[in-house]
């Protein structure tokens, strides 16, 4: 009975979404306030209905209701409760439900925090979000219903969650990523609303800017969590594989990064208006494309679920409607967009234009590389695959170009840089970063790497320039405290994000060029040298976990003669599915990770073992965390709070007058 409540709530949400898509738009077009006013309550109701639906599915998992097919396929009596909760979004149907729930959540957020925005505008925004919701809920109800039952012969036990997903990383990675993906729908909806209303000045940019920033921050954290999860759970110590599904999240991230920067120009200077609109459309369309790539299984990927083509066709159709519809509207309206004002060749605008150009090219190249196998196959060219060499060859130089310009932007003034002395601090920055960068690889073991020298120099270039900017502002305001209080929060966010990117680049350069890595055959009593350590295998045992049996090796790591640490990597075999998983032992440190993983059992009781030293690998994710943090700091700016406060005061005043 209870699963039917969830199913019913889903149908209800679908009905509400249709109303939300139609009524406010009709109200706006026919100029009837009453219809416009339905937008916010409908958005709230939709959120409520989907929360109920989601809650029911989660209850099904917690209560072991194996009469629900989705639960039976993805849970098990032995599965711990926290993995039963995250199993809700562990496969296709449930992750779609999470997608829809988060979309509704963003709708609720817009309904609650859009008081500074004219009613007809927020009605249009919510209406557009309702249309997206209709598409997704129809997709769920007609092709991927998570509440399908197995009755009357429901299984006594479930098939278990894919062991790869039985990991704390999965509890947070998809929700974070979806918050980002779906959050971009808000910027998209604002762009659509301003296109529909024809009010194409810069106000929509001001409204959608905090939403874009927060979605971007979630997307950043989501991608970083996914990369971290792949690092320790996929078993082989890589942090990025250029897998199509990873690319599907990177492409919207690149476009969203460009959008964030171009929104700044549109808000502050009223320029790049039509370009910003196009980016807002592109960012969300590309996250939809990402969803399509993940869900349809058209590309070979570690993320591909067993899938059915009908779903792919549905999402493809939806994709065509969204992209086609929005671009058509754009084509009709964009000619009316005026671009007032000018800027000098050396100005903050020109550097942000440079940023946008490079980021767009990066996004297009990753997109081309990802879709190329599909294109070749479609024209009958046979099956091909595009691997990391292509992406590295294209992405790395573009990143270098992008980063080399990053130090100038924050120092340049809007409109024009009257004063060339503005860039004087960068001369010292340039000298320091080049000298240290060139010296750095010679301090490392092994052959001198020019790639490392360039990478380190670029990371330092951005990091030092950011610090210089901070110091300059602190000098201007006379103290750290006053600076933090007086300067715009967006500025602080930018410092954090730019500094974070420098950390990430440094980590990437070090890991990619200086990882020490060996695959070996080892038995109990064998000892191997690993960097400045000695690693000895001392024991092999069998361990019984809650829902798996594991071979566990014990390794003692010695530094000289002193025992530094004992670690226990495992090779697990999950009971229900029979799947084998590698649990690597990782000793994390600021300057390096020691990575030990068991490969496969060999004859005579030996094991294939992978030993690695990964220098500065954690800096990759630390940097991404700073970027995300920067996004969250930005949206706490007084500008955004003040508007709400003014609204409140206005309403209190109104109340007093009445």
């Amino acid at each position: 009975m209870i699963p039917e409540i969830g199913h019913f709530a889903l149908v209800l949400a679908f009905a509400i979404a249709i109303c939300l898509a139609v009524f406010p738009l009709y109200g706006y077009l026919s100029n009837q306030q009453g219809f416009c006013a339905t937008a916010k309550p409908l958005a709230l109701l939709q959120g409520l209905a989907l929360a109920v639906s989601f809650g029911v599915l989660m209850y099904g998992f917690l209560a072991h209701d194996f009469s629900v097919k989705y639960v039976a396929d993805n849970s098990n009596l032995d599965l711990p409760w926290y993995f039963r909760m995250s199993a809700v979004w562990g496969a296709h149907e449930g992750s779609l439900l999470l997608w829809a729930l988060i979309l509704a959540f963003w709708g609720v957020a817009v309904a609650l925090f859009s008081r500074g925005i004219p009613d007809h505008m927020s009605a249009l925004v919510l209406s557009v979000m309702g249309m997206i919701s209709v598409g997704f809920l129809a997709f769920m109800l007609f092709t991927s219903n998570p509440f399908v039952r197995i009755l009357p012969f429901s299984p006594a036990n479930g098939a278990d969650l894919n062991p790869l997903l039985q990991d704390p990383g999965l509890i947070f990675h998809p929700p974070m990523l979806y918050m980002g993906y779906v959050g971009l729908s808000v910027a998209f909806a604002f762009a659509m609303a301003s296109l529909i209303s024809g009010k194409l000045d810069a106000t929509w940019a001001r409204w959608s800017r905090p939403w874009t920033t927060i979605a971007w921050a979630f997307l950043t954290l989501g991608i970083a969590l996914g990369s971290w999860w792949a690092y320790y759970e996929l078993g082989w110590g890589g942090w990025w594989f250029w897998d199509p599904v990873e690319n599907a999240s990177l492409i919207p991230w690149l476009v969203a990064t460009a959008l964030m920067h171009s929104l700044a120009v549109t808000e502050k200077r009223g320029l790049f208006r039509s370009w910003t609109l196009l980016l807002a459309i592109a960012a969300f369309s590309l996250s939809l494309l990402g969803t399509f790539l993940v869900r349809s299984g058209v590309l070979t990927s570690v993320h591909a679920f067993a899938n059915d083509p009908e779903r792919g066709v549905f999402i493809l159709g939806f994709l065509i409607v969204v992209i086609g519809g929005s671009l058509t509207l754009y084509a009709i309206r964009a000619s009316k967009v005026s671009e007032p004002g000018e800027f000098a060749w050396i100005s903050r605008e020109s550097f942000l234009l440079f940023n946008n150009l490079i980021l767009t090219v990066m996004a297009v190249s990753v997109l081309l590389g990802t879709l190329y196998p599909l294109l070749v196959d479609a024209v009958g060219g046979g099956k091909v695959s595009v691997g990391p060499p292509f992406f590295n060859a294209v992405f790395v130089p573009l990143t270098a170009i992008l980063v080399s310009g990053m130090a100038f932007g924050p120092l340049a003034k809007w409109r024009q840089s009257e004063d060339p002395r503005l860039f004087r601090p960068l001369i010292v920055t340039l000298i320091v970063s080049v000298v240290v960068g060139l010296a750095w690889p010679s301090m490392l073991d092994g052959q001198y790497s020019i790639g490392t020298a360039i990478g380190v120099a670029l990371a330092l270039w951005v990091a030092i320039a950011t610090v210089v900017d901070v110091v300059k502002k602190v000098g201007l305001y006379g103290g750290v405290g006053t600076t933090l209080a007086r300067v715009e929060r967006g500025m602080i966010g930018m410092w954090l994000a730019h500094f974070g990117l420098a950390l990430t680049i440094f980590g990437v350069v070090m890991v990619e060029n200086h990882t020490e890595h060996r695959d070996l055959r080892m038995g109990v009593g064998d000892s191997q040298n690993l960097g400045s350590y000695d690693v000895r295998m001392t024991d092999l045992t069998v361990i019984n976990g809650p829902n798996y049996v594991a071979d566990q090796a014990t390794f003692e790591i010695y530094q000289g003669d002193a025992l530094y640490k004992t670690v226990t990597p495992q090779k697990r075999r999950y009971n229900a599915s029979g799947m084998v998983m590698t649990e690597a032992a990782i000793d994390s440190g600021v300057t390096r990770d020691l990575y030990i993983a068991m490969g496969e059992p060999l004859d005579g009781g030996d094991w294939a073992v992978r030993l690695s030293v990964k220098p500065f690998v954690d800096w990759i994710w630390a940097g991404a965390f700073l970027m995300g943090l920067g996004g969250f700091v930005s949206i706490t700016d007084k500008r955004y709070r003040q508007r709400v406060r003014e609204e409140k005061e206005a309403r209190v005043a109104e109340g007093a007058a009445a």
Binding site: V361, S385, A393, D519
Partner: protein
Amino acid sequence: MNPKRKQRMLIILGLVSGLGVAVGLVMYALSQNINLFFTPTQIATGQAPSAQLIRVGGMVADGTVDRDPQSLKVAFDVTDFDHQVRVTYEGILPDLFREGQGVVVQGRINQGQFVASEVLAKHDENYMPPEVTEALRQSGKLDQMKGGQQQ
């Protein structure tokens, strides 16, 4: 032409030519870095180029996995149930590598053997890489395979 319009023209020209150059370079890089896919039959009948990095997909034939007792060297046959290809590899095989499972290997043909630099098996047991499905479909053994799985 007024200065504003002139600036905009220059920017647009710059953008278009920049994008054009970028797309050109990307396409060139792509043509240099794609790995073509072949079936075991195509390799056995000599249709695949040797010494070029290619991919082969199929099933790991039962009873063909040989390990070197001293090192991490391993050899096995990949089959589409029509023809087999002997694959050699040195390193750690993926967790889901098993006899009778679908696998995609990347490497080069060297004197009749396929020397793999990478072995890919998928993380979901029910999931079959599209390349493998394609190889089995071409050899006409896909239905037989599906039937076999249900037993």
